[in-house]
Amino acid sequence: MELGFIIGSIFVMLGLGAIFGAGLAVASAKLKVDRDPRIDELMDLLPGVNCGACGLSGCEAMAKALLAGNAEPSECALIPPDVAERVAEVAGTDVGQRQKRVAVVLCRAKDVGRRHDYSGLSDCSAAALLQGGPTDCVYACIGLGTCADVCPFEAITMGEDELPRVDPEKCVACGKCVQVCPRNIISLLSVEKYVHVLCSSHDKGGQVRKLCEAGCIACKLCEKACEFDAIKVEDCIAKIDYEKCTLCGKCVEACPRGIIRDIRIDQHWPKATDEVTAAEVKSGE
């Protein structure tokens, strides 16, 4: 009886193991997925966070696009240049040119009236659904920080004034905040051109004056100040033509509302410390 147990157990387990092993071997041979080994190699090099900044659905999609020649390594905002070169080597493509972009919040809402006290979910999209949002200005930042919540890189923090601050060092321009903002006031703009019109209101000048201390009133002083024809007031808001802008700063001085700004001051860009003095930061406020 004792021997029967041992022999029986061994027999059953060995038999089962052999049957299942053979079955799995057949299945893996029949259902084999042909996979380019270079995909895995590229996946190791790419960041693997699936941020979508390249415009594809994730890092694996990027790896496939690279191998198919539909993408360039530089389109990935996260990999440093030396890694991009190695990616290009593996994929057999050129590195390509990329301009670093960052998210810029085009609103500096100041003393904007509230049409109601919102006490629902702490989420801008939810707040915007209720009666068109809690702010009097329908172009203003709601300030509940949904952009900060959604940022996978913790590049956005909410300031004391309830406006988002973007850390350009951390921002990779993945565009998640741009998509999620119900007011559409976040844009991905080139780092090189750091002077922006920080207002998104298309309301008429008089109306803006009533609603916000820091709104574009379409006075056209910036248009007159610009020597390069780079700034135009269209649809009640100043627009900068970044191709023509030379960053001379005339419009910044001319703007009576203080909304055309060198954003390096607001966002404490590391580069700005030696160029922008404390006095200038103060006068900018």
Partner: protein, 216 residues
């Protein structure tokens, strides 16, 4: 077995003895993959598939290999060995794990071929079905002799219904958690803690089914 008996097995496994909400088996994938509805459905389908197959295979294993021939009359082992050997107490758990592990491997290979997106979405939880105690639980419950021995069809049906019950609980939970993601939850309760509290509340409401099938 009449139709109402099958209906009782289906209703009992899905609602009265729901594996997640009444027996609390398989909570790991329940908490892990219930953040999004599409992933929850995928996981539920994978578990249903494995549960059904595992129920069928382990029933055959139990009745034709492990049990002594005297009771069932057609034991392969006693036919080969020539004497009565009851392997149930020593081999039941071990051989079931072997069966489930092999089935999960098969599901994994098949899924990688048929649906790579679902395969990636399930990630680590797919191989984890191997150690999902709900699958093991349904296999063990199918092959006990008390209160009575199940037939092959009953056992397979119970496995399938248990899988459907699992998927239903996952769906309920994922719907709740998609809303919880927006809710203002105290920081210390965010994520898994509040998910467990919600699980407990759903489980409480499922207690209401307990009286439907007589003694349950």
């Amino acid at each position: 077995m009449n139709i109402s008996g099958y209906a009782a097995i289906i209703f009992g496994s899905i609602f009265v003895n729901n594996f997640l909400l009444a027996r609390f088996l398989g909570l790991c994938p329940f908490i892990g993959v219930s953040k999004r509805t599409d992933e929850a459905v995928g996981m539920g389908m994978a578990v249903t598939f494995v549960m059904t197959l595992a129920s069928a295979v382990t029933w055959l294993l139990y009745n034709y290999l492990l049990l002594p021939g005297a009771e069932t009359g057609h034991n392969i082992m006693s036919f080969i060995m020539g004497n009565e050997v009851n392997l149930v107490p020593i081999l039941k758990n071990v051989s079931y794990i072997l069966v489930i592990a092999a089935l999960v491997q098969l599901v994994e290979i098949t899924m990688r071929k048929i649906s790579p997106a679902l395969y990636r979405a399930l990630g680590i939880y797919l191989p984890l079905i191997t150690t999902n105690c709900a699958v093991m639980g349904v296999a063990l419950l199918n092959t006990t002799d008390a209160p009575r021995r199940f037939s092959f069809v009953e056992a397979t049906l119970q496995g399938f219904a248990a899988g459907i019950g699992f998927m239903m609980a996952m769906l309920l939970m994922s719907a709740i958690r998609e809303r919880l993601a927006l809710a203002d939850v105290p920081r210390s309760m965010k994520g898994v803690p509040v998910a467990f509290i919600c699980t407990a509340l759903i489980a409480l409401s499922f207690l209401g089914f307990a009286g439907i099938l007589g003694a349950g």
